[in-house]
């Protein structure tokens, strides 16, 4: 039905915008591989010097930053996922007084950006002498993560056929066993999507880390990168190498599990 010209136009639009999306990212990888000595320029293909990554890793202290990020992300993602599954189960499959109101409160909480709560969070944590600890990075992010996770898991549980749960109950399974033995195997894709999104958001979080942490040893990867830029803006290839190191964990996960990332974010996922 459609003409060859229309087909060509569609591919041209797709091609141009895909290229535009890709170029800066390819550019920074090329920059990271340039000869660090000879006046690097962004995006130029100037040799192959993977040693820049090792140099950035040592000089920029990225090993330590990645470790902090990993610790924070691991705790936030695992705890938030567990609690979100339970809360989503309650909202999606059980009826109790006030459940609607409580759910709306969580829904509103989804729209509260970190920018609006970071000020009191800082002063509260300071009063408890908890700034400059992992707790200051972990606890607030669990708070925002469970809001999204609960919302996400509730959507999943609402779509599960009720007959399944009733059958389990007739067999005498408790609500706890029903959740873990009957429902969770079905929920695996939804849980994986949730974990990936939470991991990405936690890994990429910047403002909270900037405010809460001043110890070098606690800095997360994005925060470390911003400090590395401050110290090192003259050496382009090292800075580019540092940036690539920070972005790589999430990008690698994305390349292998893109379906989950895209499905999750296209559904309108936001986190405070």
């Amino acid at each position: 039905m459609t003409s060859r010209r229309e087909q060509a136009t569609t591919y041209a639009i797709l091609g141009v915008f895909s290229l535009l999306a890709l170029l800066p990212i390819v550019g920074i990888v090329f920059t990271a591989l340039q000869d660090p000595g000879s006046g690097a320029g962004f995006g130029r293909l100037g040799g192959f010097h993977p040693g820049n990554f090792a140099d950035a890793w040592d000089q920029g202290n990225f090993g330590s930053y990645l470790k902090s990020s990993l610790i924070v992300a691991a705790v936030v993602v695992s705890v938030s996922s567990l609690l979100s599954i339970m809360a989503g189960y309650a909202f999606g499959m059980m009826r109790f007084r006030g459940s609607e109101t409580l759910f709306y409160v969580i829904l509103l909480g989804l729209m509260v950006p970190t920018e609006a709560i970071v000020v009191p969070l800082y002063y509260d944590f300071r009063d408890l002498s908890l700034t400059n600890t992992y707790w200051a990075l972990i606890l607030p992010q669990i708070g925002t993560s469970v809001a999204f996770g609960t919302f996400w898991m509730r959507t999943f549980f609402r779509a599960v056929p009720r007959s399944l749960v009733e059958a389990a109950r007739i067999d005498g399974a408790s609500s706890w066993l029903t959740l873990w033995r009957v429902l969770l195997p079905l929920a695996k894709p939804a849980v994986l999507t949730m974990c990936l999104l939470l991991f990405m958001w936690t890994w990429n979080e910047f403002l909270l880390a900037l405010v809460m942490v001043s110890d070098e040893g606690l800095r997360t990867a994005p925060l470390g990168l911003s400090f590395f830029q401050g110290r090192n803006s003259s050496d382009l290839s090292l800075l580019a190498a540092g940036a690539v190191i920070v972005a790589t964990p999430v990008v690698v996960l994305y390349v292998f599990l893109q379906r989950h990332f895209i499905r999750g974010m296209v559904s309108g996922a936001v986190k405070g």
Partner: protein, 301 residues
């Protein structure tokens, strides 16, 4: 026998009831302590003039008055509104362009394009900012070098250091981050439109343009609403990008509310004012989200 029977009857028709609170409690408690609590605390702090150290002074709603009367603050909100054009409107228009094209053509290998288009979404904003600072670099940045190479050297400038272009320059980074999401979202919506609608339009002799406005655009209302909500919230929150690329400068020309929150609370000792900006931001996000979704619902009916 009888007691047991009543117990079974009691349990079987509905779901377990009070036990729901137990499942909900841990998540809700953490949410309440680390999101709701700070939000209310922020409202409280916004009623004071406080430097974070000495005793605060009650000022009522004066900090909110400043949002309108303080030149620096008012302009930061105006900048946020301008950024909505770059973060939300432009990406959705680009997305619609593609959605309109895909509606008429079977695209092979769309999965590949989708993965590439979506890539900027998963790169940490701090990395994006570092990257674009290099691209915009007035000396050896590829943007100026390209302009010089094609004989447009007169257009080369300090993109992030120029009072007039710094804000649009930062805005275009937002466009770059978000148009992929808009494209993927809207094309997914197009694929759900029944083919019969297009066939009917074609029987009536509709061309590509007419078909877009008669069939594609109305059917995409829901997807457009989701895309606009996500991107508008991103534009209003926008802190990382500003902090890394311009720190609000030159002057205050790229200062945005989220940056003012940070600057006032942690650098210049105006904690109350910072809190009032944060609360105003939340209010604006609520109102915009509500309006966009109202618009989408009304269309669906």
């Amino acid at each position: 026998m009888a007691p047991r029977l009543t117990k079974v009857v009691d349990r079987s028709p509905g779901e377990p009831r009070r036990i729901g609170y137990l499942y909900l409690a841990p998540a809700f408690l953490l949410f309440a302590v680390f999101v709701l609590g700070p939000l209310l605390h922020s409202v409280w702090l916004s009623l004071f003039e406080w430097d974070g150290v000495t005793a605060g002074r009650w000022v009522g709603l004066a900090n909110y008055g400043d949002v309108l009367s303080d030149e620096q603050l008012r302009s930061s909100f105006v900048h946020a509104l301008i950024l909505i054009v770059f973060y939300a409107l432009l990406p959705v228009l680009i997305g619609l362009l593609l959605a309109g094209a895909v509606a008429r053509v079977q695209v092979r290998g769309f999965t590949f394009f989708r993965v590439v288009l979506f890539l900027p979404q998963v790169v940490a904003m701090v990395v994006v900012a570092v990257m674009w600072r290099m691209i915009y670099d007035p000396g050896n940045g590829p943007l100026n070098e390209t302009l010089r190479a094609i004989g447009l050297g007169g257009l080369a400038k300090s993109w992030l250091g120029d009072f007039d272009v710094a804000l649009p320059a930062v805005g275009l980074v937002g466009t770059w981050v978000w148009y992929g999401l808009a494209m993927v979202l809207l094309t997914a919506g197009v694929q759900k439109i029944p083919r019969s609608l297009y066939d009917a339009a074609r029987v009536d002799g509709a061309g590509a343009i007419h078909e877009f406005f008669a069939v594609t655009l109305p059917a995409l209302r829901g997807e457009i609403a989701v895309a606009l909500t996500l991107t508008t919230i991103a534009a209003l929150r926008n802190f990382d990008l500003i902090y890394i690329t311009t720190k609000g400068g030159p002057g205050d020309s790229t200062s945005v509310p989220a940056f003012q929150v940070y600057d006032r609370a942690f650098l210049t000792g105006k904690v109350g004012s910072a809190s009032s900006i944060g609360i105003t931001l939340v209010a604006i996000i609520f109102v915009i989200t509500f309006c966009i979704n109202r618009f989408a619902d009304r269309g669906a009916r």
